[in-house]
């Protein structure tokens, strides 16, 4: 496995725990743990989940909410209402909190040049369909929002609901209530209505229902509300809610070989798009495991030595999401407490002590058979009012695993067996979506509910126009290569052509263990075969045989590296992460020299070894500062910046931002830095410093400063858009100002998003096809308050392609949308580790690779000596 493949395989560690990709990583969702189930305990920090047995955070306690204040300013009140409503949606565990936040950020209004139109023009028109359905009718009436107060204060949501609906005659059957906010399609007679109810204990309760707002049908709050209604429908269709989405349990796909079960399901969302409100539906798959955490611990126990057992368990299990046997909730495993077991006791809400064994026996009739198992700890991530609930204790025997472990993700066989079921080709995906829409249209109860709110949807998928831009010519040392745009790959076309800039291998090390001598030799011989045509001058390597131990590698490195060494190549016998990390750490920080690690196994097949040697030669060349190819980039004096982040979810300790910036006109050389930050630190200060050094470096190379800077910002989480707009962009501008008084470059900041639910299908022709690489969509499914577009830049061999979304959040460049789109597409051709077009602009992928290397292996910023080379590939 080359460094790239290894990194890609390990890249899956990042928080993609629960669902598996349909195609690419787009259908991977991060499953947020559901509402924290614990009751706050003062003396005993850990408690088992509460008895609440249904989804929707029923057990949650609300902090008493004060009645809305009188209107100060309209905007103020609107804000407050929407905040309240957000809580509403959270309690239903449905609308993505972050997403809805992002939607309120209007960036387009500040950009004069795209106010009228943000569409491009080049390319040939094609007809597409997208997985969207228009909302054909929606309520013309206003939605009335009421605040409901109780006196005396009632805590439990269920009780609040029950008390309120003793007055159903008055309120009507059609309503939505979250415990404090009531939405009604009709207006009550009075602005303030007082109602009296009595609890079962005979307590009289005064309920005050106060009108707080009248929501017009186009208000964003209404949209969120439609989403909530829609989720009700999914429940009616007997879909099971797991995490955020709904899945169909009745026809699971069983993969007994790996003890896996796949539930097909759907991701839905209703949003305001460019011209209309639409429902987006995508197929999603949930991987479940017919194995409890305890089973999996037993299994591990059999396969590892005793002293490593706890470590291995931690590595395997922490970060996974589990489902409990007794309620419909998911929890993320944050820790394993080996000092505790099911016989330990905790303090219940009424003050009594009870052991976990007894608790689960009496509460759920769940018998715990292994009394010596450790317990799992899950930290709740959501505040309950102002209190952060304590950690939740889970019993391994009562928890089922969901999603894949890191080991399974790295297991080619597992992934292959799953892909058969989850990578739906375009045809099948569209059929599934269509069938689902049929179900909605045909189910009586669902239709009744929709009608009661006055909602209906188009039964056909959205048709829209896209444009396919012309394929780029690949320029390499005076040659211009055409390639088949369908495959978006030019490996074959450019084979044997000299590189733009070849770095000689005059003085280089090749390290291997005795067992891997044959592999090392095969690599060497094949490098000799393939390098001449590339124009790489190559001397015989200094061959170093080392023992199969990490220290042996390090010692050999210390002894053999001279100031003249160009690069170090290590043939490794296994995927031991610690060895890889140690070598990289030494060669990136202590003794900065480019390095290339290869797995011996990768070189073991005689029929492929030459191809692999070719790829390794190219990669080594890039790492030493060589250049492979370029495309025509008409824009002059422009510096392209790419930023991506790596978050260490397992230990949660630090995040790393990778930063790369182009150094030359042809975009073949890149400067890089990274920011390693502890939790809670702001990323942006580090980025500012990166930009400063990048500009200095640019000046050194070009003898002038760039007149345009275009930033591609990847790694932006849901809900972070406003931080970017309000904080990060101003900091960039500040930074530019500080460079010099007269220096006024034009800045463009583009947010890149890969994980989308949007799918495009090419119209006409059976079976249905993916849109061709180079397809640009900038209407209908874009959003009116953004300057955004989609590009399908890469090609996939099987499954559905997932487009990439670009959102221009700041632009003083005055460039036409068409130019920005074309430039973005061109940059997707410039990633040197893949002789084809990739999903994102090359600087984003470089930044990703850098952040990944630092986050996974180095844990500190690499030496700046290497910063003008692609050593992190």
């Amino acid at each position: 496995m080359s460094g790239r493949a290894r990194a890609r395989a390990r890249g899956r560690l990042l928080g993609q725990e629960a669902a598996i990709p349909g195609a690419g990583a787009s259908s991977v969702q991060n499953i947020l743990p559901s509402q924290p189930p614990s009751r706050q305990q003062l003396r005993q920090p850990c408690v088992p989940p509460s008895a609440s047995g249904q989804p929707g955070g029923r057990g949650r306690q609300r902090s008493p909410q004060s009645a809305p204040q009188g209107p100060k300013k309209i905007s103020q009140e609107e804000l407050q209402i929407s905040m309240g409503f957000q809580e509403f949606s959270i309690s239903d565990r449905d609308v993505r909190r972050g997403d809805s936040h992002d939607l309120r950020v209007n960036t387009r209004q500040a950009m004069e040049h795209v106010k009228e139109s943000k569409t491009g023009s080049s390319g040939s028109m094609i007809k597409l369909t997208a997985n969207y359905f228009r909302l054909t009718s929606r309520p013309q009436w206003v939605l009335y929002q009421y605040h409901v107060g109780y006196s005396p204060e009632m805590e439990a949501r269920r009780l609040r609901t029950a008390l309120l609906f003793q007055h159903e005659n008055l309120l009507g059957k059609t309503n939505a209530f979250d415990g404090s906010i009531l939405l009604l399609p009709k207006k009550l007679k009075n602005k303030v209505t007082e109602l009296f109810s009595r609890t079962r204990n005979g307590e009289d309760v005064k309920i005050t229902v106060t009108l707080t707002n009248e929501l017009p049908p186009y208000s964003p709050t209404c949209l969120q509300f439609y989403n909530i209604i829609f989720r009700r429908l999914l429940k009616m269709l007997n879909l099971q809610q797991i995490g955020r989405n709904y899945y169909n349990p009745s026809d699971p796909i069983i993969v007994p070989k790996h003890r896996l079960m796949i539930w097909p399901g759907f991701i839905t969302s209703i949003l305001q798009y460019e011209e209309s409100i639409m429902l987006c539906i995508d197929v999603s798959h949930k991987v479940l495991r017919s194995e409890t955490v305890l089973d999996s611990m037993y299994n591990l126990c059999q396969h590892v030595e005793e002293q490593r057992f706890r470590d291995v368990c931690a590595k395997e299990l922490i970060g996974l999401v589990v489902l409990t046997k007794y309620n419909n909730k998911t929890y993320r495993v944050d820790d394993i407490d080996w000092d505790c077991n099911p016989q330990c006791t905790f303090r219940r809400a009424d003050g009594s002590e009870i052991s976990f064994v007894d608790y689960y026996k009496t509460q759920y009739n769940q018998v715990i058979s292994d009394l010596n198992q450790p317990v799992l700890i899950s930290q709740s991530r959501r505040r309950r009012g102002n209190i952060m609930p304590g950690p939740v204790v889970l019993i391994p025997e009562l928890c089922f695993l969901t999603g894949l472990t890191a080991k399974m993700r790295n297991d080619f066989n597992v992934m292959k067996d799953l892909a058969v079921h989850t990578r739906l080709p375009p045809d099948q995906r569209q059929q599934e979506i269509g069938r689902f829409m049929d179900c909605i249209q045909r189910d009586d109860n669902v239709q009744k509910e929709l009608q009661s709110w006055g909602l209906s949807f188009d039964s056909n998928l959205l048709s829209l126009q896209g444009r396919v831009v012309k394929a780029e010519k690949i320029l390499q040392s005076g040659n211009a290569f055409d390639y088949n745009p369908q495959f978006a790959d030019w490996t074959r076309e450019t084979r044997g052509a000299p590189l733009i800039c070849a770095k000689p291998l005059d003085n280089w090390l090749l390290m291997y263990t005795r067992r891997n001598y044959d592999s090392a030799n095969a690599l060497l011989q094949n490098l000799f075969k393939v390098t001449p045509s590339m124009g790489i001058r190559m001397n015989m390597a200094t061959m170093i045989e080392v023992e199969d131990r990490t220290e042996a590698y390090l010692r050999a490195l210390q002894q053999s590296i001279t100031p003249d060494t160009n690069i170090v190549v290590c043939v490794l016998s296994g995927t031991q992460k610690d060895r890889y990390d140690a070598i990289k750490k030494y060669l990136c920080t202590d003794c900065p020299i480019p390095s290339q690690c290869v797995l011996a196994r990768t070189l073991s097949k005689p029929q492929t070894v030459q191809t692999i040697a070719t790829k390794i030669a190219l990669q080594m060349n890039c790492k030493m500062g060589g250049e492979l190819w370029t495309v025509e980039i008409p824009l002059k004096q422009v510096m392209i910046v790419g930023i991506d982040c790596y978050h260490d979810l397992l230990s949660g300790k630090h995040s790393v931002a990778g930063f790369v910036a182009s150094l030359n006109q042809t975009m073949t050389r890149w400067f890089s830095r990274c920011v390693v930050q502890d939790r809670g630190q702001e990323l942006v200060d580090g980025l500012k410093a990166c930009l400063q050094t990048a500009l200095r470096e640019w000046f050194k190379w070009n003898k002038y400063l760039p007149s345009r800077i275009i930033v591609y910002r990847d790694g932006v989480g849901d809900g972070q858009l406003s931080i970017l707009v309000n904080y990060e962009v101003p900091q960039f501008l500040d930074c530019l100002k500080s460079i010099g008084k007269d220096y006024m470059p034009r800045l463009t900041v583009i947010v890149v998003k890969k994980q989308l639910n949007t799918r495009f299908f090419m119209q006409g022709g059976r079976p249905l096809k993916n849109p061709a690489p180079g397809t640009i969509v900038d209407l209908e499914v874009t959003r009116p308050e953004w300057y955004d577009f989609f590009i399908v830049s890469h090609a996939v061999r099987n499954g559905c392609i997932s487009p990439t979304h670009y959102n221009v959040i700041y632009d003083s460049s005055q460039l036409k949308p068409d130019h920005i789109q074309r430039l973005t597409y061109k940059l997707c051709h410039m990633y040197y580790n893949w002789s084809g077009v990739i999903r994102v602009p090359a600087p984003c992928q470089y930044a990703h690779k850098l952040a990944f290397l630092v986050g996974q292996s180095l844990h500190r910023e690499p030496s700046l000596v290497l910063s003008d080379r692609l050593y992190y590939l």
Partner: protein
């Protein structure tokens, strides 16, 4: 449950711990634990809390709820749906939960054949004509083995701080002990049941004479159920409307059983295969210096020397032929998990046929060793 209340005599605040409603439900749960009924109906199930608690009781196979208010059931019915885990690991028992919209004053055949019918805090909500019909419907028509009826004890009411005539505005009446017991005894006599009285919610010390806060009558049928009698009632017209039905996945259902068997068989076969391969590797790597490989407990017969063994025993041994590993179904059947699921070997063969790749004579699971162990 003796000292489970905290009482501040002078302020007159009565607070039950656990709450009285929980105590009532716990009472039913205990009763279920004692009598192990298979079919339980809750009349006036409201927010379905009792049904939700009862669904965890392993003896129960049928649960039904009835309420006059459909919306309260609809708001809460989803808590009675199977959980994801119920699909992941289908239970041995079958369980069907239904909710019906209707009145306890009307007969519907869906309420026939139950072992236990509970009416928790129900009768005091009934108007007089309904209350009159109630005994005939529950004791005469449904005629379960056990009926539990709970209702407020009005003698307790003066202890509440804001003493009102009735505890809840929807209560049509609240009986004292004599009233309830005479009604119950009369009903029991009329329909040939025996009744015993108890309650939950102890009165404060010094006030024991008022009795339990909630009074409970447990009625036990004196005669055995005859099937023809039940049959005759089946023809009654259906008047309830079903608002919810959930059939839990169960191994009693062939579909789930087959899935479970196939999963277990393939998984077991994988384990055997892995230990076989590990063993082979061990042989192969003998001169290698890697001590971390653990010797597997399973000893497969590679180049088995003991040819003299009985045929039966030999057919139990997994073996390797070229790139293919054969694991006899007999061997797999000997694993307790598989054994327990299928019961008989014939059943095992029937379930895996067509679902798992078998050798030509159908006696062994086949695996190719290619693409593995790179």
């Amino acid at each position: 449950m003796d000292k489970n209340f905290q009482e501040k005599q002078f302020k007159g605040i009565i607070k039950f711990t656990p709450p009285l409603s929980k105590q009532r439900y716990q009472f039913i749960k205990d009763l279920v634990g004692k009598y192990k009924p298979k079919k339980v109906a809750d009349l006036g199930c409201a927010d379905c809390t009792l049904l939700w608690m009862l669904k965890f009781c392993p003896c129960i196979e049928v649960l039904a709820g009835l309420d006059i208010c459909a919306s309260v059931m609809q708001q809460n019915m989803h808590r009675l749906s199977p959980l994801p885990v119920d699909y992941l690991q289908p239970a041995e028992r079958s369980l069907t939960i239904t909710l019906h919209h209707g009145s306890v004053a009307c007969k519907d055949p869906c309420m026939l054949g139950f072992d236990l019918v509970t009416c928790i805090e129900l009768i005091e909500h009934l108007e007089e004509p309904e209350l009159k019909k109630f005994p005939e419907v529950v004791f005469g028509f449904m005629a379960p083995s056990i009926v539990v009826i709970s209702t407020p004890n009005s003698e307790f009411n003066p202890l509440f701080p804001r003493a009102t005539l009735l505890r809840h505005p929807d209560h049509k009446f609240e009986w004292n002990r004599v009233q309830f017991q005479s009604w119950a005894l009369e009903t029991a006599r009329c329909y040939d049941y025996s009744v015993e009285f108890t309650g939950v919610g102890h009165p404060p010390t010094g006030m024991e004479n008022v009795g339990f806060c909630t009074q409970i009558g447990v009625f036990v049928r004196n005669y055995p159920q005859t099937s023809e009698f039940a049959q005759s009632k089946k023809s009654t017209e259906e008047v309830y409307k079903m608002v919810f039905k959930a059939v839990y996945p169960s191994l009693k259902d062939e579909k789930y059983l087959q899935n479970a068997v196939v999963s277990e068989v393939v998984f077991t076969a994988q384990i055997i295969k892995q230990s076989l391969l590990d063993c082979l590797m061990l042989e192969h790597d003998k001169y290698n210096d890697d001590p971390t490989e653990r010797k597997s407990e399973f000893q497969p017969s590679v180049n088995s020397e003991d040819l003299g063994n009985l045929d039966v025993e030999k057919s139990m041994e997994p073996y390797v032929n070229g790139n293919v590993i054969y694991i006899p179904l007999r061997t797999i059947f000997s694993f307790p998990e598989v054994n327990q699921l299928c019961g008989t070997f014939e059943k095992l063969c029937m379930f895996v046929a067509g679902k798992v790749t078998l050798s030509s004579d159908g006696s062994a699971v086949m695996f190719s060793t290619e693409h593995e162990n790179h």
